[in-house]
């Protein structure tokens, strides 16, 4: 769940030694990238492209149900990102991709794009882009 307070994360379990006082109270949420935790501004500012990027930044969001009958989002699962800043194709605009998991899925079992793609869970590219920069 996004928080709107300051974020200070220092510790061996985190890649980022992040200090962010969040003076404008932006919503910040934790995401996974290759088994490491990162933080992004979780905004809902949508972007409609004339020409979508050839390589999109993908944000995998986890839902119960099926593509034909989507259920609730898995509340304790952090989103999984396909790229982070420093990657060649990274930009702070990502496409939402839904991953449909069974009811007995253990949250945060999947922590990387590779995990997701190897899981064989149904995946739906929404074609919806949002401005969500990694901090």
């Amino acid at each position: 769940m996004p928080t709107t307070g300051p974020i200070y994360r220092v510790g061996a379990q985190f890649t980022e030694q992040l200090n962010y006082s969040n003076p404008l109270n932006r919503p910040v949420e934790t995401v996974w990238y290759r088994y490491e935790m990162y933080f992004q501004l979780a905004t809902d500012y949508g972007v409609v492209f004339i020409d979508p990027p050839q390589v999109s930044v993908e944000e995998y969001l986890f839902r119960y149900g099926t593509p034909s009958s989507p259920g609730a989002f898995v509340s304790d699962q952090y989103p999984v990102m396909s790229l982070i800043p420093g990657s060649y194709h990274y930009q702070p605009i990502c496409e939402e991709v839904w991953v449909f998991v069974p009811q007995d899925y253990r949250p945060n079992h999947l922590k990387s794009q590779q995990d997701v793609l190897l899981s064989n869970y149904p995946i739906v590219h929404t074609g919806q882009y949002f401005v969500r920069p990694i901090l």
């Binding site: 962010y20 006082s21 500012y45 949508g46 972007v47 409609v48 800043p85 930009q91 605009i93 901090l135």
Partner: protein, 203 residues
């Protein structure tokens, strides 16, 4: 930002003022060709003399050894005036991303963003207005930027019209325009300068 230089006014004092500000001033002066000894971060008589010569050459009055906000700007030293700060921002930028400083209503803010043109549909994407102060715009829409002038936002997060996707507007100013005279969208729109909306959108 915690690692930003604050534009503290410095001058020749006893004991001599020392610090990163002085070092930044010395680096700038050396870049302009002034000679004052080593770049040691100590504001001594030689640095003071170089400052006086710089101010005389640039026509900045009074001609003395004091470096205040106007002199920092004239030197091109990137620093933040405490009187201009709204955000008490502490951000260590662990991913080394590009950070833009911009004006909003006379205050400085910071934004993460690569600032590259985006092929978006403006009719279906909410955008905000960003003003870029330029001497002119070329045939390929390449702007002739005013050095040291920060761009100007019309909104910040929390305002209804805010969007992180910026529509660029070029504000054409004369060659004798003093950088950072314009610091708000209201000032831009009430100025005598021509505003040319572009078809560029950036994040």
């Amino acid at each position: 930002m915690s690692d930003a230089l604050t534009c503290t006014t410095v001058t020749l004092t006893h004991p001599y003022t020392q610090g990163d500000n002085v070092k930044a001033i010395q680096i700038a002066l050396a870049g302009y060709g002034y000679e004052f000894g080593p770049i040691d971060g100590i504001f001594g008589p030689l640095t003071a003399s170089a400052v006086e010569m710089f101010k005389q050459w640039e026509g900045i009055k009074p001609i003395n050894a004091t470096v205040d906000l106007a002199v920092y700007y004239a030197m091109g030293v990137r620093c933040v005036s405490t009187s201009e700060l709204t955000e008490q921002l502490d951000y260590n930028n662990p991913m080394h991303q590009v950070i833009e400083t911009a004006w909003f209503n006379g205050k400085k803010y910071w934004a993460i963003g690569p600032n590259i043109p985006l092929p978006i549909n403006p009719e279906e994407t909410k955008t905000a207005e960003e003003y870029v102060i330029v001497y002119g715009v070329g045939e390929e829409e390449e702007p002739h930027l005013v050095p040291l002038q920060l761009n100007i936002y019309d909104s910040i997060p929390g305002m209804p019209q805010y969007s992180p996707i910026w529509h660029l507007n070029y504000v054409i100013v004369p060659q004798d325009y003093v950088p950072n005279t314009l610091r708000s969208a209201e000032q831009v729109l009430n100025s005598p300068y021509q505003v040319i909306p572009s078809d560029r959108y950036v994040n």
